[in-house]
Amino acid sequence: MNSEFLFTMVLTFKLAAVTTIILLFIGIPLAVFLVFSKTRFKSIAETIVSMPLVLPPSVLGFYLLLAFSPASFIGKYLTSHGIRLAFSFEGLVIGSVLFSLPFMVHPIQSALSQVPTSIFEAAYTLGKSKMETMIRVILPVIRHGLVSGIVLAFAHTVGEFGVILMIGGNIPGETRVASIAIYDEVESLNYAMAHQYALTLFAVTFAILLLVYALNKKSLEGMR
């Protein structure tokens, strides 16, 4: 097994893991906002979160690339602070977080909206703050939504192609992830290498999903 292959695979899963962890911290408060807020901006927020589901990845990638470029307002600001996002790992993380957002938020949102209001209220009348209620009562109740969100966001980031191609390019060890590598190897008619990437992605993704669903089923049975 050559080192470039290993490098690429490690980078791919590192990107997915970092993205998923960031998404978990953004996704929970965002889902809480979308379920409980009564402001009229809610539908706008909901639309923005769901946009990546229908928007071609190249559109998001294109705008991110423009934003990251030193010629833009944001890019200029970032460059002046020594931060370069285009064609860098950090840039890929930002792109992936935006693009996988609905895959994390939607399962949590749907699980949250099924929790009866009285469960929250019962905890409040028992003297528990909103934060403590969330952490000790609600998160355990919606754990299936959390697991679904984590798995979907992780798997979706591993499989992401368009955004990464636009903003990351194909720099080995920095921005070259497995999905790009497969495309690259096929372009240069190196089918054996493409197979190695493809089969590894296939096997690993299958194993992760299988494990999660099996665990989920077991704990669901425990609840009944």
Partner: protein, 291 residues
């Protein structure tokens, strides 16, 4: 002593209702809120618990102000000493029976009390079970015990027994009555059940369209024309057959049909479909137990 004087605009099925609740609840009393659905009984409980905020007015419990719109005081539900038993029980599904109670406890003394309550409500054998594995009556007992862990000043129950079968209902009524006697905690109950109300409560507050229409002992409410030595029933007139000088009247009382004879004059004042009061001189009536 709890003094309540609050105004709250409610949007009900029949449009907007401007509720104004004014009542005083005595220490350690068991007060039932009785009245048609949509009158605002549950809202009153939620206003007291702080789960809903009145538009104006004040709530004062034992000299402590819980809410006062003029002074801009509004204690959050966390700071109000209240035990709330919800209609759907609202047990925490991922916690066992014991964990549900312990979650409420704030210190070691209350943790020990949680175990006492588990014994008192006969939940000992179930203490490690998850709520989903319990029957309705068992869930209700957990909800009741959980509400008592923090030694609340007021225990509030929102139709807690309405979803249970009659036997379980009766058992829990006895339990509730026992707990009220034992702990002497001021208790507020929303109920539609006459037997339950008479059995449990010291006083009944009749709630009609967002007002406390009257407040009195439950027996005074259900037998307002009370005259000693008379048996009184209210029935619906189904049929009037006049055969001078008498009238045979058929009435529906509860679920049984009663046929009786009255004078023609008396019959003329009755109307089919209207309610009528039947009073019989009942000195030493025959009352036999069934089954």
């Amino acid at each position: 002593m709890i003094r309540i004087d609050v105004v709250k605009q409610l949007s009900s099925a029949d449009g907007i209702l401007k509720a104004h609740f004014e009542l005083t609840i005595r220490d350690r009393e068991f007060l039932t809120l009785y009245g048609p659905s949509g009158a605002g009984k549950t809202t009153l409980l939620r206003l007291i618990a702080g789960l809903e905020v009145p538009d104006s007015g004040s709530i004062e419990v034992d000299g402590t102000v819980w809410f006062d719109s003029a002074k801009k005081i509004n204690l959050p539900p966390q700071k109000r000493s209240i035990g709330f038993v919800f209609q759907d029980y609202a047990l925490f599904p991922t916690m066992s029976v014991r964990q549900n109670l312990l979650f409420a406890a704030q210190n070691n003394q209350q943790r020990a009390y949680a175990d006492t309550l588990i014994e008192m409500t006969e939940l000992g054998a179930l203490s490690h079970r998850l709520p989903a594995t319990l029957s309705g009556g068992q869930k209700q007992r957990v909800a009741l015990a959980r509400a008592l862990v923090r030694h609340p000043k007021i225990l509030v129950l929102d139709e807690p027994l309405s979803a249970l079968d009659p036997t379980m209902r009766q058992k829990l009524q006895d339990e509730l009555s026992l707990i009220h006697k034992k702990l002497g905690i001021t208790t507020l109950l929303v109920s539609h059940d006459i037997a339950e109300t008479v059995k449990l409560s010291n006083r009944l507050a009749n709630i009609q369209t967002g007002r406390v229409a009257s407040i009195c002992p439950p027996m005074d409410f259900f037998t307002p024309h009370s005259l000693s030595g008379k048996l009184q029933l209210i029935g619906e007139v189904l049929k009037l057959e006049t055969e001078p000088p008498i009238t045979i009247v058929t009435l529906l009382v509860g679920s049984s049909v009663v046929r009786t004879v009255i004078s023609q004059n008396e019959g003329e004042s009755l109307c089919i479909g209207k309610h009528a009061l039947i009073a019989v001189k009942a000195f030493n009536p025959i009352i036999l137990p069934l089954s």
